[in-house]
Symmetry: C2
Subunit: 351 residues, 2 copies
Amino acid sequence: MAVTLADVAARAGVSAATVSRVLNGNYPVAGSTKTRVLAAVEELEYVVNGPASALAAATSDLVGVLVNDIADPFFGQLAGAVQSQMGPGTPGGGPRMAIVCNTGGSRERELTYLTLLQRQRAAAVILTGGAIEDPEHIEALSARLRRLEAAGTRIVLCGRPPLPDAEAPAITFDNRGGAQRLTEHMLSLGHRAIGYIAGPAARTTTRHRLEGHRAALAAAGLGGGADRLTVHGGAYDRAAGYEGTLALLDREPGLTAVLAANDTVALGACAALRDRGLRIPDDVSVAGFDDLPFAVDTTPALTTVRVPLTDAGAHAGRLALSPDAPAEGVVTYPTTLMPRASTAPPPPEKP
Amino acid sequence: MAVTLADVAARAGVSAATVSRVLNGNYPVAGSTKTRVLAAVEELEYVVNGPASALAAATSDLVGVLVNDIADPFFGQLAGAVQSQMGPGTPGGGPRMAIVCNTGGSRERELTYLTLLQRQRAAAVILTGGAIEDPEHIEALSARLRRLEAAGTRIVLCGRPPLPDAEAPAITFDNRGGAQRLTEHMLSLGHRAIGYIAGPAARTTTRHRLEGHRAALAAAGLGGGADRLTVHGGAYDRAAGYEGTLALLDREPGLTAVLAANDTVALGACAALRDRGLRIPDDVSVAGFDDLPFAVDTTPALTTVRVPLTDAGAHAGRLALSPDAPAEGVVTYPTTLMPRASTAPPPPEKP
DNA sequence: CTGTTAGCGCTTTCAG
DNA sequence: CTGAAAGCGCTAACAG
């Protein structure tokens, strides 16, 4: 049916082995032979049979990228950056293909995808974004990853802390520090009643950002009743911000600032404040996290914390491909406070 | 090394063929045998070797999804919707895996990815988003697609018109109608000096939206000098909107409305207007296209045209998987005008 | 319903 | 530097 290596070999008047060697370029072949083979490939429009070579060589050129939500630009940027490292002419030789898998934040699907990737004999797997902090899930995950590793798949963590057992390099973001600096910024503006809309529970990202926030509060001697002004959104979406803000407002009508788990959540927070007739930042200041592209374009422009997604994603891609990359270790990318117009000093106390 | 079918067979005391049959469930097997096999699979933690079965069966469970820009939520939503159809328990049997390929709008990469997918013997390939209108590229693309088809890969087009030669079902959006209704909306508000920031040149989406816009203008007897108020952005990004708006303003200071190629471009347009000290919609109205999630959260909320990305993506996924889906034909999804606060009647003429 | 027998198309020693 | 031969792990007739 389709044209095979043997067809090319016949056409070029050489053996199949030689064609294979030319195509893989991992073995010396005479220049003239090479030219002849390449010509035959061209003429026959030969395309390698990936499964066949994966089977014979016991490795594939597929790289799995697990994301929590592909429709979220946070992951889109990360995934794009990973892919930028995979074209032809990239570390580790031939063109790799990234398989972007959308877990939707579901533990089960995370595990399922890992099995599916093992089944494809993926060359590497990159797990991105905050990890779920349930011990049971961590155990199940580690087990799957250990099996993948045993099968020769490289594991890279990007945006999440290293795992207890599995040996894999991790790229993390300084979420804690970023959150802390953001809260310090709010405090220095004079805010005292600062609401916090945290991300989904039991996620590393959620916890780290919250810890940074609390650390800043505690350092300012405001640690006491802080929990009263913290709500947990169910997801990293607009609805969480909207509803969280309404809840905070009910709880503390004197609220002067809202810090959101991320930029998308902040958008929802802004909408809720407006619906309540509050002006930003005159009445209430708002800040997000991540500095997604749209943050600079909101009105007022959103104060947030920049997370170097592109750098980190590309780095993860390189770690996944380079055969000689470290098999372990944590690299932490810094985060940067981006003060913009959505935060300002609180309004003067009403008499 | 890894545990194979034969190991499972030995453990269960049956032949490899039987294990295969149990696993694929496409052949009658006695209940007791099945239980025994499944137990062995469990105990040995057996994971099918994808490449091996793809080779033997001459088909794989990989589905390629080509997108122009994975970091753009437009494609993120589309890709997410496609993937939603691929989990276990979806049309066409076993769990498929989507390979999301980021072409970045490059012709060459589009072609390269197609070859890579052919090499993986992908079960299907879904091409999403506007197509490039260069005849030479269309020819090259058709040729690649014909080869893929010949190799048994299903082709599905989503968000782009059918191709001349290749036989593939297409799902399109009524971009023309949406754009026309949007411009009619602006005209009915009283606008006459309407700037248009078109998308990248030589893209079907760009052309269709522009055609709709012009049709509305022409119907209102304003067709004449319309081109003067149309600029082409280099990409579907914020910068295109920002720079395009400044260019339009220079060209026509009396501009009262800006229509952007999509919502992201509209964001840039808003920023430019604000930087020029113009209020939205009091001085200038702005509208986008696509109705991405953030559109409702901008200030003022963005008037736009809703494109049913989720429905279309899921539909494309189903077409790609169902063996009995039509091999040809065009389904057009309607688009809906979403009038919001960013558009209003033009300001009264200055005396 | 189950086992046997051939390959699928490629890579890779091992000889030359 | 090149060819021959032996699988990689699985599926798919074909018998039983």
